[in-house]
Symmetry: C2
Subunit: 307 residues, 2 copies
C-alpha cells in the first residue's frame, strides 16, 4: 500500500515512525514543510525535514522533539563567544547536516536532491520530499513586528499576539519533483497531527498541491493535532485563532476542507463527531496521543484502516 | 618598540607568544600566511591565521600545534557518516571560527576585517593581518600530481616527491591594508621560525611585501626553523630541497636574501656562522628550541636584542 504523508516536524515524527513500521519502506513518501526553513550562521537549516529524517533514522532527540540524540553544543558555545546569535540551537552533530545541505545547494543541487541524499546516508528508506525546491517562508505578523516563523516561535517563544500568517513565495512556488505524483498515485494520503497553520499550512499554500489533494482518488485521512481544545504540542492554538479557525477538530477539518475525508480524533472530542460529519468529514475516535512506539504503530494502523 | 612578525602557523606560535609577553599588546603586528587557506565542507579555513589567533588567545591545542584545546570532533564524525571527506580535521569549537569567517566573507567583509574581528572577540590584543585579502594558494607539484598544500601535507602526509612549489595568484596579489605600513614603520621586523617555503614563502611571493622588506629601515631578524640539518617540525626539509635550498640555516638565509640582517641559530649550527657572514647575515647562537613558556619569552627577548 503506497502512502503519502503531509508532515511538519515534531508533531508528525511519532506517526511517521508508526507508518514506517507498518509499510514496506519504499511505500512511504513524506511531503515535508519547508516554510520554517531558515538561515543560521550562514547555513541553510530545514528544521522539519531534519526532524522527520532524524526520527525515521532513529537519531531524533525524542525528549526535545528536535535535533539529534546524544548531542553536544560546543560549536554553539564557541559561536556565543564570537558574538553570534545563538537563540537557534544547532548541535555539533546536527551541524554536519546543515553543512552538507548548504554546500550542496551552493553547488547547484536542489533541496529535493540533498534531502534524499541525507536521508539515504542516514539509512532512511522512506522517501522524504520537500514540498517545493523554491523558497516559501512562513511569516508571522504580531501586534509588534513581522517575524520569520523561527523568530516568532524559537527566539520570541511564541509570546506575541498574532494578527496574521503569510507564506511568502508560496503562490509562485512549484511542488518539488515527485510531490504531485506521490499524492495522485497514493493508495492513502495521510495528514499528520501537525500544526495546521504553520506546518501543513505552507504545504497547502503551494497551489498545485491543493489541486492534487482535491483530485486524488486516494482517501485522505488526518489525525487531529488538537485534543480537548488544546494542541498536543506547540503554538497551534493561537495560530489557528489568528487564522479564524476553531481550536478544535472542527477547526482542523475547516483547514483541510474540502478534500479531507476522515479525521481521527481523541475520545474526549467524540462529541464533535456529528458536527464534523455535517462538515463532510467522517470522525473516528482513537487513541491519538502516542506515548510509546507501540502507540505510534497502533495509531498508524488505525489511520490506514480508517480510510 | 613596534614589532612586525612574518608568521606561518605551528612553527611561529611559540615565538609569537613570547613576543606578546615582551611587548605592549598593540605594538605587535603579525603578517600571517594565507597560502594554505582552503575550503572544507564549504567553509573558508585559514589554518595559519587561526593557529596564531588561538595561540595568542591561549586557546591553542599546544600538543597538536593546531586547533583548539579541549576540543571535540562530533561534527566531524557526523560528516563522515554523511560521506564527506574528513582528512582535514575541524573540531566542534573550531567550526565556530570558520562559520563566522565564511558568513562574513559571503557578506562582503574582507579577510582582514574578519581576522581582526575574530581576534578581538577572542581577547587577542596584537594585530593579526593576513598577507593579502586576495587569494594566494600554495600548490605542490609532486612526481604524481599537482596538489594544494593541505592535500599534500595533511591528506597525503607529505609523502610525495616534490618537484616544484607555486604560489598561485601571488604575483597579482596586493598586500592587505596595513601590511606595508607595518613593515615600513616597525622598529623591528621578525621572521618567525616557520617553513621558509610554504609558510613565509607565500608572504614573500606578494611582490610589494618583498619591496617593503628591502626598503624598511627596521633591522630584520629571523629565527632558523632548521636545527642540525633538520626542521624542528613539519615538512620544511624536502620543500627546501625542492626549491634548491640547503636544509640548514644557510638555506634559510638564502631564502631571505638580500634583506635578512640577523639569524638566530642553534648552538649546534654555530660552525655555520662564518658562511652566514659571507652571505651577509649575522649569525647569533641562541637556545632556539622553545620547550616551555619561559623559553618562548627568552627567545623573544633574544630576537629583540639581537637586532
Amino acid at each position: 500500500m503506497r502512502v503519502t504523508a503531509l508532515a511538519g516536524g515534531t508533531g508528525a515524527a511519532k506517526l511517521l515512525r508508526g507508518l514506517a513500521a507498518c509499510l514496506a519502506p519504499r511505500d512511504l513518501t513524506i511531503v515535508g514543510n519547508t516554510g520554517d526553513d531558515t538561515e543560521v550562521w550562514g547555513l541553510h537549516v530545514s528544521p522539519d525535514l531534519d526532524t522527520v529524517t532524524y526520527a525515521l533514522a532513529g537519531l531524533l532527540d525524542v525528549a526535545r522533539g528536535w535535533g539529534r540524540a546524544d548531542e553536544t553544543f560546543h560549536a554553539l558555545q564557541a559561536m556565543a563567544a564570537l558574538g553570534a546569535p545563538t537563540w537557534f540551537s544547532l548541535g555539533d552533530r546536527d551541524l554536519a547536516t546543515h553543512l552538507t545541505r548548504t554546500a550542496a545547494l551552493r553547488d547547484g543541487a536542489t533541496l529535493t536532491a540533498v534531502t534524499g541524499r541525507l536521508a539515504a546516508r542516514l539509512g532512511v528508506e522512506a522517501r522524504i520530499l520537500p514540498m517545493s525546491d523554491e523558497p516559501v517562508r512562513t511569516t508571522i505578523t504580531t501586534t509588534e513586528a513581522r517575524l520569520t516563523f523561527q523568530e516568532y516561535f524559537v527566539r520570541d517563544k511564541a509570546l506575541g499576539d498574532v494578527v496574521r500568517v503569510d507564506y511568502d513565495g508560496a503562490s509562485m512556488a512549484r511542488p518539488a519533483p515527485g510531490v504531485l505524483e506521490a499524492i495522485g498515485d497514493a493508495d492513502r494520503v495521510v495528514v499528520c497531527p501537525s500544526n495546521p497553520v504553520t506546518s501543513i499550512g505552507p504545504i497547502l499554500a503551494v497551489p498545485a498541491i491543493v489541486e492534487a489533494l482535491r483530485s486524488t482518488r486516494a482517501p485522505i485521512v488526518g489525525v487531529s493535532p488538537i485534543v480537548g481544545g488544546a494542541p498536543v504540542s506547540g503554538p497551534a492554538g493561537r495560530l489557528m485563532q489568528a487564522r479564524g479557525l476553531d481550536v478544535s477538530p472542527l477547526g482542523v477539518a475547516a483547514a483541510y476542507a474540502p478534500w479531507l475525508r476522515t479525521l481521527l480524533i481523541d475520545a474526549r472530542d467524540a462529541g464533535l463527531a456529528p458536527a464534523l460529519e455535517r462538515a463532510g468529514v467522517r470522525a473516528v475516535a482513537a487513541d491519538i496521543v502516542m506515548t510509546d512506539h507501540a502507540g505510534e504503530v497502533a495509531l498508524a494502523r488505525g489511520v490506514l484502516e480508517a480510510a
